[in-house]
Symmetry: C2
Subunit: 389 residues, 2 copies
C-alpha cells in the first residue's frame, strides 16, 4: 500500500504543476501514472482538478481499487458516456484538461475529443514526469530494496555460471533467483514499442548486437519478434559477460550492470572496463543538485576521450550515458545533450558507461544513484570489479 | 526469419483489405504489426500502398532490419520530416492513409497529422487484425511448437511443487524450465495497459482475485503496481492450483490452462472442473468454419447452466470464453457476445471455461485450437485431468 501522505504530496505537486501550466485539471488513465497518483493500478480514470479533491472512476476492478487506494472518492464508471458528468462533479466542466498524450492510444484520445467537446485537451505527460522525477523518502526506501535485490549478483553468477551454457540458460538461473526474491519480472518502459523483462544477460558478440530498444546494450534476443536480450548462443571462454538487470520492489526499480567472464578476457576489454569505472566514479563524484544532466553527459564523453566504442559503435552509438528510473525504467532525468533542467535533491538516475565492440563484445558498469543535498549517494552495491570466474 | 513468401502473402491480403475499405495505403509502426508485415521488429515505418511495393524506412537499427526482412526496399529514415517524401516515393502523396490508431500514442498521431497534412488519416487496425486472425501453414508450425513447449507441464509441476512453497516460488521454477526451452518471457498484449509475462500460477483464493487484466483469472501479483499473476502467498493443501501459461516460438504464442493440487480438493471443485472440461470438449466439437464466435460463447453459457462462478463471480464476471492468439494474446476472434464474424479455416483460438469462487479458489481448463476445413484441431496436448499430487 502506498501511504496516504505520499498520495497527498504527489497530488499537491502535480496540481501545482497543472496550475503553473494553465491547466484546469488532468484525466489520468495509464496504469503506472494511476498507481503513482492513486496507489492502485486498476483500470480507472483518475480526475485531478488543479484545485480540489481528486476522484477515481473505476472500470475494473472496483473492490480492489477501493482496497488499494487511500483516495476518499472512488466510484464506478460504467461507460465513457458518463465521463463528462464525472469531470463536472470534480468542478471540471470545460476548461483545459491534461491527458497523457505520450502513452494514450490515438483511438482513445479521439474518443475523449468526441465525448469531452467542451474541454480543450492538452498534454500533461511532461508535467507529471517532472513531478515523478523527484523521489520522496518513502519512494527511496522502495528503490533501496530494489537495489538490494541485485547486491548478490556476484555470488549468484559464480554459483550458476557453467562452461558451455547459453545466454538464455544463464539468464534462466539468475531470473529464477530474482523471481524467488519477489521480482515482478516485467520492467515498465514508457516509450512506445519499448519493453523489458528483468534486463539483459549477454556474452561476447551478442552484447554488441544493436537493436530497437533505447538502451546502449540490446542483444539478439530469443527470436526476431522479441529481438532484445539473451540469445541461445553458448557463452565462450574469455568473453565479457554483461549482466545488466533491474531489481524491483513494490513496483519501483533499480538498475545495475556488472561484467563477468569465464576465464581471463583480453587486455583490451580490461582496459575498457577500467575506463568505464573511471568515468562512472568521476562523473558520479561531480554530480549533485544544480548540475545539468547534459553536463554529466558531456563530461562522460570527454573522459572517454579517443577510446573507441563508447556507448556504441558508429551509427549505433546512443547519445545518452544515463537515465532516471522509478516506476518506469525511462524516467527523467535523461543524461543526454539538451537535458539542461538541473538535477535536484531526491532525483535518482542510473549512470552506465559502456564500451561496445561490434563482432567482439561489450564491457561496462552501471550504478543507480540518488541526488542528495550536496552530491549523490550510490544505491547499487554489488562488487564492482570485472569478475573472472 | 519469416520466409519471403509469408511476407508477400500477408502484404497481398492486407492490401486487398485496404482497397476494399477505400484506403490508399497504410503506415505501420507498432512493433508486432511491423514484424508481421516485414519480418523485423526494428524501429521503423513500414509504408504499404494499397497497390504497389511496400517499403521499410528504418530509424534503429538499419543493419539489423536489413538482415531480418525479406522486403526489397529498406532505407534509413533520419527524421519524421522525411516521412512525406518517403510516402510519396511509394506513390502516396495525399489520399486516405491507414494508421494503427488502437496502439499508436496520441502525441505521435498528432505529429503525423501535422507532418502529413495532405493525407486523410484513418484507422486500419481492424483490417490488419482481421488479416492476422487467419494463420498460414507456416504460422501454424510456429504455434504448434509454442504449444509443444507446454506439453510437459504435468511432469514439470509434479517435479517442482513442494509443500509450503509460495505461488511465486512455484512460478519461478516453471518459468525457469520454460525459459530454458527458449521462452521469450514477455507475452505481447495489444490492449492498452495490458501486460503479461509467461502467464499465471495461482492457488486457492489468489486465483479468484479479480483485476484490471482482460482475462477471467487475474490474481494478486507480486505487488500493487504489478497487480496480476502469482503472489507471495504459500500454496495450501487441497487448494486448486491454476497453471495458465503461454508457450512461445519465434514470437508466436499458444495458450493452455491446467489445474493441479497438493492433496485432494473438495468435491465442489472436482465437479466444477469436470463441468469446465465438458464445456471445453462440447464447444470445441461444435466449432468450425462458418460458426459465429458469439454462438460458441452462448453455447458455453448454456452448458454452464445454473452452476455459479462461470467466468467469474458477480460484477467481476468476464463476458468472453475464449480469444484468438498468435503474435499477441488478444487477437481476433474473441468468443464473446456480438462477435458474429464467422470462424474461418486457419483461425486459432483458445477456449478457457473457468469457474471462480471468491475467497475460495478457481478451477478451469484451456486448450488452443486451429479451425480446419470441417471443424477444429486441438493444439495443446498436456494431460487434462485435474492432477492431485
Amino acid at each position: 500500500m502506498v501511504p496516504r501522505e505520499e498520495i497527498e504530496n504527489r497530488t499537491r505537486a502535480f496540481q501545482e504543476a497543472l496550475s503553473a501550466e494553465g491547466l484546469d485539471g488532468a484525466l489520468i488513465v495509464q496504469d503506472v501514472d494511476l498507481f503513482y497518483l492513486s496507489g492502485t493500478a486498476q483500470n480507472a480514470h483518475l480526475v485531478v482538478p488543479a484545485d480540489g479533491e481528486p476522484a477515481l472512476f473505476v472500470r475494473k476492478t472496483l473492490s480492489r481499487a477501493r482496497e488499494e487506494t487511500s483516495l476518499e472518492r472512488v466510484e464506478p464508471l460504467r461507460s465513457l458516456r458518463d465521463l463528462p458528468s464525472a469531470l463536472a462533479s470534480c468542478g471540471l466542466d470545460g476548461g483545459r484538461l491534461g491527458l497523457e498524450l505520450d502513452v494514450l492510444p490515438a483511438a482513445q484520445f479521439l474518443q475523449y475529443q468526441h465525448r469531452l467537446e467542451r474541454s480543450e485537451l492538452a498534454d500533461c505527460s511532461r508535467l507529471l514526469r517532472a513531478v515523478r522525477a523527484r523521489k520522496s523518502p518513502w519512494e527511496l526506501e522502495q528503490i533501496r530494496r530494489a537495489a538490494g535485490m541485485l547486491s548478490r549478483i556476484d555470488r549468484w553468477t559464480a554459483d550458476v555460471l557453467r562452461e558451455g551454457m547459453t545466454e538464455i540458460e544463464l539468464a534462466a538461473e539468475i531470473e529464477r533467483l530474482l523471481r524467488r526474491e519477489g521480482h515482478q519480472g516485467i520492467i515498465h518502459f514508457r516509450g512506445f514499442n519499448q519493453e523489458m523483462f528483468y534486463g539483459s544477460v549477454l556474452a561476447g558478440p551478442s552484447a554488441a548486437v544493436p537493436g530497437a530498444t533505447e538502451t546502449p546494450i540490446v542483444g539478439p534476443g530469443p527470436n526476431v519478434a522479441v529481438s532484445k536480450g539473451a540469445s541461445s548462443r553458448p557463452i565462450g571462454r574469455g568473453e565479457p559477460i554483461i549482466i545488466d538487470l533491474c531489481g524491483t520492489w513494490e513496483g519501483y526499480l533499480a538498475d545495475q550492470t556488472r561484467t563477468f567472464s569465464l576465464g581471463p578476457v583480453e587486455d583490451k576489454f580490461h582496459e575498457a572496463y577500467e575506463a568505464a569505472r573511471e568515468i562512472l566514479h568521476t562523473v558520479a563524484a561531480e554530480a549533485g543538485p544544480g548540475r545539468a544532466p547534459s553536463a554529466l553527459y558531456d563530461r562522460s564523453v570527454e573522459l572517454a576521450g579517443d577510446r573507441e566504442g563508447f556507448m556504441g559503435a558508429g551509427e549505433e552509438r546512443v547519445s545518452f550515458v544515463g537515465h532516471g528510473f522509478g516506476l518506469e525504467i525511462d524516467e527523467l532525468p535523461l543524461l543526454m545533450p539538451g537535458a539542461d533542467e538541473p538535477l535536484a535533491e531526491g532525483m535518482v538516475f542510473a549512470l552506465e558507461p559502456k564500451f561496445i565492440y561490434p563482432g567482439e563484445g561489450a564491457v561496462g558498469v552501471e550504478n543507480s544513484y540518488v541526488v542528495t543535498a550536496d552530491g549523490v549517494e550510490q544505491l547499487t552495491t554489488a562488487p564492482e570489479e570485472l569478475i573472472e570466474l
